[in-house]
Symmetry: C2
Subunit: 133 residues, 2 copies
Amino acid sequence: MKKIEHIGIAVENLEFSNQLFEKLLGVAAYHSESVAHEGVETLFFKSGPNKIELLAATNPESSIAKFLAKKGEGIHHIAFEVDDIEQEIIRLKQEGFIFIDEFPKKGADNKRVVFLHPKNTNGVLIELCQEIK
Amino acid sequence: MKKIEHIGIAVENLEFSNQLFEKLLGVAAYHSESVAHEGVETLFFKSGPNKIELLAATNPESSIAKFLAKKGEGIHHIAFEVDDIEQEIIRLKQEGFIFIDEFPKKGADNKRVVFLHPKNTNGVLIELCQEIK
């Protein structure tokens, strides 16, 4: 776990929230990306050494659509940057943590990502991410 | 807004979550502190340039106790570090944001803190914090 790479925030309307977070953070978003297989559209802001990722659903069956329906807008996950995602999965499994995904998959912003199950992490959805070189 | 200073996570049992986050992050907590007037006990972990703050209630009327009763364990707030908290309050009020507190108050970890109202920030509870010199 090197550092917090980003915080993911689920929003209903990406256009509205883009303006809101631009005002809040005092900087414009630097990157937008759709991840079709996740049914999600994303927008990234830099915040010092970290990023804020806004997530909106493009598909009513997506995990973001389900999160919004259940919990409403708000913080969705914390992503930690790791150097070796396979090694970190092994370490955390040995510590008793459970993963949602069996293997890392391609995420937004040029990353391989994997999620831990929040039932073992105090209700916090945690992502591990490793930059694709 | 210089950077994310910390992420606050509401937990039921600080002792249990201390062990859990030590395993997750691979480091031990470096600081613990009770904030009596908030009815909260805190524990801090370093994560690269940021911190994770675990928050447990010491008083059933505290905002953490109410959060846990309503939403359960999970991410409670994001705190952004600022150089001049009064100036940042003025800037954000001009942008239309609403504050929970009228003035900054003393928080944990040697900070002056103020919270924005989450109804204007996509359901995200946002803290501004400035280190006390």
